[in-house]
């Protein structure tokens, strides 16, 4: 019930924002070129969708982020498991995380370009950097706070090391793992769009960031907003819808949230 009312409130609020936007656009306080109306944004969006380039570019962006996240998150889990072996390794890993974690991915771009050139690999590198450290941080925290009793029950029922990791430690630490994934995703998504804007069209594989950059260059404001709309929509779908579904079907179902 409360949830429904919240959702209704949220919808009303968004409708209000859109109305304010529309009124402002039609009042011509700002030049139409800089502040397009919702209709023109919508028609630009439809036009772009029909043309198909924006779909391809969205696909490119998503493909890159998925690739980077899969590599980064698997790496993070391996490193975190390794960090559980001894207190000293744990110390090294934690130190490394505290050095690397505050470094915005996009700040590594010049370095990435030197190492990998201007292209897909540089972007993947930055995405991996964006997801790796927060994932290690959360995974290690998750592992450290596993109730000892689960590990003891695990060894009692005859589980060996690998099974303890995959079947006890990972599900026990799932709430933290999901937090790590979520933080990593939002960092990577921002880094990806920024990086694409900076070196954009290298060959055919450009993404959403480059799309917006290009539209600005051509002074196609409705097009810019159409691009922004897609970025917001994907962010919303992943962060609010997808993660919510994952939580509902795992940790919430299992009573592992407080």
């Amino acid at each position: 019930m409360v949830n429904k009312r919240l959702k209704l409130n949220r919808t009303i609020f968004i409708v209000m924002l859109l109305a304010i936007w529309e009124i402002t656009a039609h009042s011509h306080i700002f030049p139409e070129l800089l502040f397009p109306s919702l209709e023109s944004i919508l028609s630009a969006l439809i036009h772009e969708l029909e043309k198909g380039t924006i779909v391809l570019q969205t696909y490119n962006s998503i493909e890159m982020i998925l690739e980077g996240m899969i590599i980064g998150d698997i790496l993070a889990i391996i490193i975190s498991v390794w960090a559980m072996i001894s207190r000293r390794i744990n110390e090294y890993v934690t130190t490394l995380v505290s050095i690397m974690d505050p470094l915005p991915g996009i700040a590594l771009l010049p370095l990435a370009i030197l190492w990998f050139g201007t292209g897909r690999n540089s972007i993947i590198f930055i995405i991996i950097h964006s997801v790796l450290w927060p994932m290690i941080l959360n995974t290690v925290t998750g592992f450290k706070t596993i109730p000892k009793i689960y590990l003891e029950v695990g060894s009692n029922i005859g589980l060996k090391k690998i099974k303890i990791i995959t079947n006890i430690m990972i599900p026990s630490a799932l709430p933290s793992l999901l937090t790590g994934l979520q933080v990593g995703w939002s960092r990577a998504w921002r880094a990806l769009i920024s990086a694409e804007m900076i070196f954009g069209a290298t060959g055919k594989e450009s993404g959403l960031g480059w799309y917006i950059f290009e539209k600005r260059f051509m002074l196609d404001m409705p097009g810019v907003f159409a691009g922004l709309f897609i970025i917001v929509a994907i962010g919303f779908i992943v962060e609010t819808v997808l993660f919510e579904i994952i939580e509902e079907s795992t940790i919430k179902k299992w009573g592992m949230t407080n």
Binding site: P147, I149, Y150, E152, V153, S155, N156, I157, G158, L159, K163, N167, I168, P171, S172, L174, T250, K253, W254, G255, M256
Partner: protein
């Protein structure tokens, strides 16, 4: 004759704040198959430590633990542990899967259907078959403990180790579970070591009682309990044993002593 379980001069100490604290001091006792041993002692005396040593969770400093001729050093499915904590089922598995999973690990040859049959057999044993699709957080404390007990039994342990498993339950549920445990004990003939600080619980359940002292834990007495079931507090034998255990645990004496201490302090 070789004994089923033999504990020989078991010593265990912990280092805390740079000092050695001896918790178990030369504990020795024997157990026959099908015994129901209650380890009785005041809180903090080392009962859990003793059980954890037998389970293989703690390295012992000296002495021997021998089960059917084999010295024990690490955890194994021949000794299944049941803790007091209500959160020892895996929360990410349903009740059914919590029992199924250990079976799958330990009896890889069983088919899915065979495991399913076993699982419902064990759940029926504690009247929880209707809850098989529930997740642990949807169960009451008493229900969780019953699932834990049958999960342990399903692996056919030689020893069932129970560390105050009913300690956090309300009196009524505790009483029901004691009855159920006795039923299971008679039904399966499993050998049990059951730790408690509750005299009544020890009397109701045990066939044998080991009484421990405090700081460090030493065995004060080993008592055979052959009062006929059902063991009712009103009967003379019950009362007699209760008084004896109460005296051994020094409860009344300590109340008098502490009363004396407070008087001295007042003077």
């Amino acid at each position: 004759m070789e004994c089923f379980l033999e504990i020989k001069e078991l010593c265990k100490s912990f280092v805390s704040n740079g000092r050695y604290i001896t918790v178990l001091d030369k504990i020795s006792f024997n157990l026959h198959e099908n015994d129901f041993l209650c380890v009785l002692g005041p809180s903090g005396c080392g009962k859990s430590t003793l059980l954890r040593c037998i389970a293989g969770y703690e390295k012992i400093n000296s002495g021997k633990i021998i089960l059917e001729g084999n010295e024990l050093t690490k955890p194994g499915t021949d000794r299944m542990m049941v803790f007091q904590d209500f959160n020892q089922l895996f929360p990410w598995l349903t009740v059914e899967k919590n029992i199924d999973y250990p079976l799958k690990i330990n009896y890889p040859k069983l088919s899915k259907i065979q495991r399913k049959e076993l699982t419902s057999y064990y759940l029926e044993l504690v009247n929880l078959d209707n809850f098989k699709d529930f997740y642990p957080h949807q169960l009451s404390g008493g229900m969780k403990q019953r699932v834990v007990i049958v999960r342990a039994l399903s692996l056919h342990p030689k020893l069932l180790l129970m560390d105050e498993p009913f300690g956090s339950l309300d009196a009524l549920t505790r009483y029901k579970l004691q009855k159920e445990l006795l039923k299971i004990y008679e039904h399966t003939g499993v050998t049990i070591i059951f730790v408690t600080h509750n005299i009544d619980e020890a009397i109701i359940l045990s066939s044998k009682i080991v009484v421990l002292s405090q700081h460090p834990a030493k065995i004060i007495d080993i008592i055979t309990n052959d009062i006929e079931q059902p063991r009712l507090p009103g009967t003379p034998q019950y009362g007699e044993l209760w008084n004896r255990l109460n005296l051994l645990m020094g409860l009344d004496k300590s109340i008098e002593e502490s009363a004396a201490l407070t008087r001295e302090e007042v003077i």
